[in-house]
């Protein structure tokens, strides 16, 4: 079995990760997130036109001219061939009906066959009251908090018997740092996507991040597990033992993540538009998680051990 010198080149990996991390933090601070309506409150309406679709400017003009009243930060976006998506701040049913009627009137004006009067199909409508948005935010926060606490405790408990030369809680902390790294970089990517592609962050996104965290810790644990097994019988130093463990588990770490990525890619490409952002968050997160469990968590452990010796 070939023994790649991974740990020995740790400064490269940790440097690259640090650079990515800093970029992600910068992206988050600079662009922030584009929050979906389940956090901000508001409405999202998607309709398909059965006949010719009016242009975005026509729709825009209709809503400014019409006496529907203020919809609040209206965003209009064409979807596919026949569809159009509207996002606005008002979340009342009255406005919902008024907007639908206005769109149908637009379609009627364009239609040649005056007998057909129902020219739009409502594909979806989500509306969230402002108080609910606030509540979801705090719930998502508490979920993140408890997942981190749970993982920290589990790892510390799991590694309680290996305390030399590195204390078991340090395994836990190294794993957590790697997880934080995964989460922040994924968030950074979405800050970028939000700013340039208009991709929104919603509750399923939070679930995706948490799942990434829960799953990525898999690979890290597999490596640490092997370190735990190798340590008593190893004649090498800590650095060498960790590197050996890493090489022994490299194949399976890559394989396990690869199979999950295969299924996620299947969802991303064939699973339909609605689920795409969710699948994308999972895919990016798990790809980065695989990298970090090999190139971040274990090198960190060694760095820590070296510091302890000084």
């Amino acid at each position: 079995m070939t023994n790649y010198s991974i740990i020995q080149k740790r400064s490269i990996w940790l440097g690259a990760s640090l650079a990515l991390f800093v970029m992600a933090v910068a992206a988050i601070i600079l662009w922030q997130f584009k929050l979906g309506i389940d956090f901000t409150g508001g409405s999202l309406l998607e309709v398909n036109f059965k006949g010719p679709r009016p242009t975005v400017t026509e729709v825009q003009a209709k809503f400014t001219a019409n006496n529907i009243g203020d919809l609040g930060s209206l965003v209009i976006q064409p979807i596919g061939e026949q569809g159009i998506a509207l996002r606005f701040q008002d979340s009342t049913e009255l406005k919902h009906r008024a907007v639908l009627k206005a769109l149908n009137d637009l379609a009627l004006a364009k239609s040649t066959d005056k007998k057909v009067t129902d020219l739009i199909e409502e594909v979806r409508f989500d509306s969230v009251g402002p108080s609910i948005g606030q509540e979801l935010k705090s719930k998502a926060m508490s979920a993140v908090f408890w997942v981190f606490i749970g993982i920290l405790f589990y790892i510390t408990y799991s590694f309680r018997k290996v305390s030399k030369p590195v204390a078991s809680w340090k395994y836990g902390l190294a794993a957590l740092v790697a997880l934080g790294h995964d989460a922040i970089i994924t968030l950074g990517v979405f800050a970028y996507l939000g700013h340039f592609k208009g991709m929104e962050i919603n509750t399923p996104f939070v679930a995706a991040i948490l799942t990434v965290i829960g799953y990525s810790v898999h690979d890290t644990i597999v490596v640490f597990d092997r370190v735990r097994e190798n340590l008593p019988k190893s004649h090498d130093d800590f650095e060498g033992t960790v590197n050996l463990s890493l090489n022994q588990t490299l194949g399976r770490s890559l394989s396990t993540s690869f199979t999950v990525l295969l299924t996620l890619l299947a969802i991303l490409f064939w699973g339909g538009d609605s689920i795409k952002p969710f699948a994308l968050a999972l895919t990016i997160g798990i790809a980065i998680g695989t990298y970090s469990s090999i190139f971040v968590a274990s090198p960190l452990l060694v760095v820590w051990e070296k510091w302890g010796k000084k």
Binding site: N67, H96, R97, L100, T117, D118, E121, E122, V123, R124, F125, D126, G129, S131, I132, K139, A140, S142, A143, W146, V147, G150, Y154, S158, T203, P204, A207, L210, T211, G214, Y215, H218, D219, I221, V222, D225, R226, Q248, T249, G251, R252, S255, T256, F258, T259, V260, L261, L262, T263, L264, L265, A266, I267, W270, G271, G272, S274, I275, F278, A279
Partner: protein, 698 residues
């Protein structure tokens, strides 16, 4: 077969493996039959026609699909229980649920699913409706549900001071003067639009020349009632209402049309005769269904337009029919039970229709008149008058009693015998009658108040304890107001205010497409993973793929049967798993996660073989040593799922549930199933063709 049986019943290690194998086979078959129930039944029919052997059918269990896959709407209402005592809150929320359910059911919405849900200590009512058009109707219906509260004076309530009473009197005299001034100006030909800025007390419309757009008798009965009597371009006299004076100018008038089909909307005037029967709640006619039917058919034979009202007074079992003669007045679509509405709208003017069966019993309907619903474009000038509530406020003065709108049984329009004004008579259910007796009993010579939609509409002083469960609301109504109120109350009244906070609608085509896409993605994902496992891990890879198929079969069966079957091995059908779009994603992802355990085991096996261990030992070691990693890593995913299930709802919860079930089942199939299969292959074959497992270059 004989061979297998022999192997099963001989003692020793391999016999045990064979027995396990057969048990696994049986469970897998059972799961497959559960998953493919409809196909199994078709096969059974086919066998029967071909061979004559009767194969019994199985019960077909469907998946519980979420609304995002089925197409439909979910409405979330928040119930505001802040005004009522803590002990009564749970029952009030249940009351809201029941009223909404009754209301949605009565208007013929298909299969509503209505639940209460507490989140962050706040009560919510979720209304799930399959279908989109229904949702629009349902929101309207629920929105019109009246909020009916019964309040008594709270001990710290204060009375109006002399000065305040004088203030009210002064204010109202001023208001009357103002009305006179305005009316004089109008009579001189001044346009109302020029007067509102100075005189109107309606803050929303005064700057716009009193323009309030289009109104109907539904959304603004007061103004529409005045407008209906006006010719276009004319201005009305000042009409006094509870809250003040209204002066209305009619600008335009048109027939109301449905925004979706552009058909004119109609309304109908009718009266009806009801014969209820034993199964109907609250019916005391004592008739069986058949007897009720023959009775109403007999009445129909003698019924004419002239004697209809008399027949109603004599025969109708509807409470209050003796006074009302069964008259329902004018009503539009969506106000009556679906069967009733269908019949009366289809019938001809002057016809006696029926008998029609509804949830209330059998009806004979006399369709008196029909007309298009008019919409009025109006300007109005409102001059406010003052009452005690304007000074003291509602909240501090009155406190809620245990009696609420959920205890209401029926409401009818009656006439006050003293001053001949219209009023609404209420009848409570059994529990409500008891509560009302308590409330009146402890408030003798004190006031109690009936609040409608947050406003006090009637606050009589109690003379004596009222034990019969009947009350009257006399709020100086117009006949039109009283009629609309009775109609609204009859469809159920809310015990506490509700608020629509969240609405999710998914069109049926989008839902169907989501299912299609997810199934496609799932199949592709499965094939990709299977190909990878075969190429990379060969024979064990094949076994892992078989285990994966068993995994899929088990998981799907558990989704159908509910999660409790996870613990009881398909025995109990409980703990419903609702499959949502995110849930399907979770399941597809779990296919990728499910082989993780196998990968860990096989990698370890190869390693042990590379270290020179014999096959059987390498297999054992592979399983044994990979276990701690499998346990630790899966625990993490399970932990995440549990936290998500506890802290979230809806979409995210669906994802967490399927992923959780997936991980638990995959631990079983990946370890137990693969191991059993691997052990079934005789060791000498594995030794001979070691390339089946590993390409180890020793």
């Amino acid at each position: 077969m004989k061979n297998v049986a022999q192997k099963m019943f001989t003692s020793g290690g391999r016999a045990k493996v064979w027995r396990t194998f057969v048990v696994l086979l049986v469970i897998t078959l059972a799961a497959t039959v559960i998953n493919l129930g409809a196909e199994f039944n078709k096969g059974a029919d086919w066998v029967k026609t071909r061979t004559g052997i009767p194969v019994p059918h199985v019960i077909v269990i469907p998946f519980h699909l979420g609304l995002d896959l089925l197409g439909g709407t979910q409405l979330t209402y928040q119930a505001d229980v802040s005004a009522i005592p803590v002990a009564d809150r749970t029952s009030a929320v249940e009351g809201v649920r029941d009223v909404i359910e009754r209301r949605v059911n009565a208007f013929g919405v298909a299969e509503p699913n209505i639940q209460t849900n507490y989140s962050g200590g706040k009560p919510f009512v979720l209304v799930e409706l399959a279908g989109v058009k229904d949702a629009e109707k349902a929101i309207k219906m629920i929105g019109e549900t009246p909020l009916l509260e019964f309040k008594e004076k709270s001990p710290d309530a204060r009375k109006l001071t002399k000065e305040e009473e004088a203030q009210i009197k002064k204010y109202n005299t001023e208001a009357e003067k103002k009305v006179k001034v305005v009316m004089e100006k109008i009579k001189k030909g001044e346009n109302i639009a020029n007067l509102t800025a100075t005189y109107s007390d309606d803050a929303d419309s005064k700057a716009k020349g009193g323009d309030i757009g289009w109104v109907t008798s539904d959304n603004n009965p007061t103004v529409a009632g005045i407008a209906a009597k006006l010719a276009v371009g004319k201005t009305s006299d000042a009409v006094k209402f509870t809250k003040g004076y209204e002066i209305v100018k009619l600008d335009e008038k048109k027939a109301k049309t449905d925004p979706f089909n552009n058909q004119p909307e109609r309304e109908v005037k009718a009266s009806h005769l009801l014969i209820c029967f034993k199964d109907v709640e609250g019916c005391d006619s004592g008739l069986t269904k058949d007897e009720a039917r023959s009775k109403i058919e007999k009445i129909k034979k003698e019924a004419t337009i002239k004697n209809f009202s008399e027949l109603v007074k004599k025969n109708s079992t509807e409470p209050g029919a003796r006074n009302s003669g069964g008259s329902l007045g004018w009503f539009s679509a969506g106000k009556m039970v679906a069967e009733f509405e269908k019949a009366v709208f289809a019938g001809k003017k002057g016809e006696i229709i029926g008998p029609i069966e509804t949830q209330f019993g059998y009806h004979l309907i006399y369709k008196e008149d029909e007309r298009q619903i008019s919409e009025f474009k109006v300007r109005h000038l409102f001059i406010k008058t003052m009452s005690a509530t304007d000074i003291v406020g509602e909240q501090t003065d009155w406190k809620n009693t245990e009696l609420t709108g959920k205890n209401l049984k029926s409401a009818v329009v009656t006439t006050n015998q003293v001053d001949m004004t219209p009023q609404v008579s209420l009848e409570f259910d059994e529990q409500g009658a008891k509560l009302f007796a308590d409330v009146t009993g402890r408030n003798i010579n004190k006031q109690v108040a009936i609040f409608l939609d947050g406003y006090s509409i009637s606050s009589p002083t109690v003379n004596e304890k009222i034990p019969n469960g009947k009350a009257v609301i006399n709020g100086r109504f117009s006949a039109q107001e009283a009629k609309v109120l009775a109609q609204r109350l009859n469809a159920g009244a809310l015990p506490v205010p509700i608020n629509l906070v969240n609405q999710q609608l998914v069109g049926a085509t989008l839902g169907a497409k989501s299912v299609q896409d997810s199934v496609k993605a799932g199949l592709i994902g499965f094939v990709l993973v299977a190909v990878f496992m075969l190429l990379f891990y060969r024979l064990p890879g094949l076994l892992a793929v078989i285990a994966l198929m068993i995994y899929v079969s088990f998981s799907l069966a558990i989704f159908k049967l509910g999660w409790i079957s996870l613990i009881t091995l398909f025995m109990i059908n409980a703990g419903q798993v609702t499959i949502t779009l995110a849930g399907m994603a979770g399941f597809i992802m779990s296919i990728g996660v499910a082989v993780d355990a196998n990968i860990l085991i096989f990698a370890r096996m190869r390693e042990e073989m590379a270290n020179g261990r014999p096959f059987s030992l390498a297999i054992e070691e592979g399983f044994r040593r990979a276990w701690p990693s499998i346990r630790d890593s899966n625990s993490m995913t399970l932990l995440t799922c549990i936290i998500l299930m506890m802290t979230t709802a809806g979409v995210v919860k669906g994802f967490a549930v399927t992923l959780f079930i997936g991980v638990v089942v995959s631990m079983f199939t990946a370890i137990f199933v693969t191991r059993t299969l691997l052990k079934l292959i005789p060791e000498n074959i594995l030794s001979k063709w070691s390339f089946l497992i590993s390409s180890s270059k020793k």
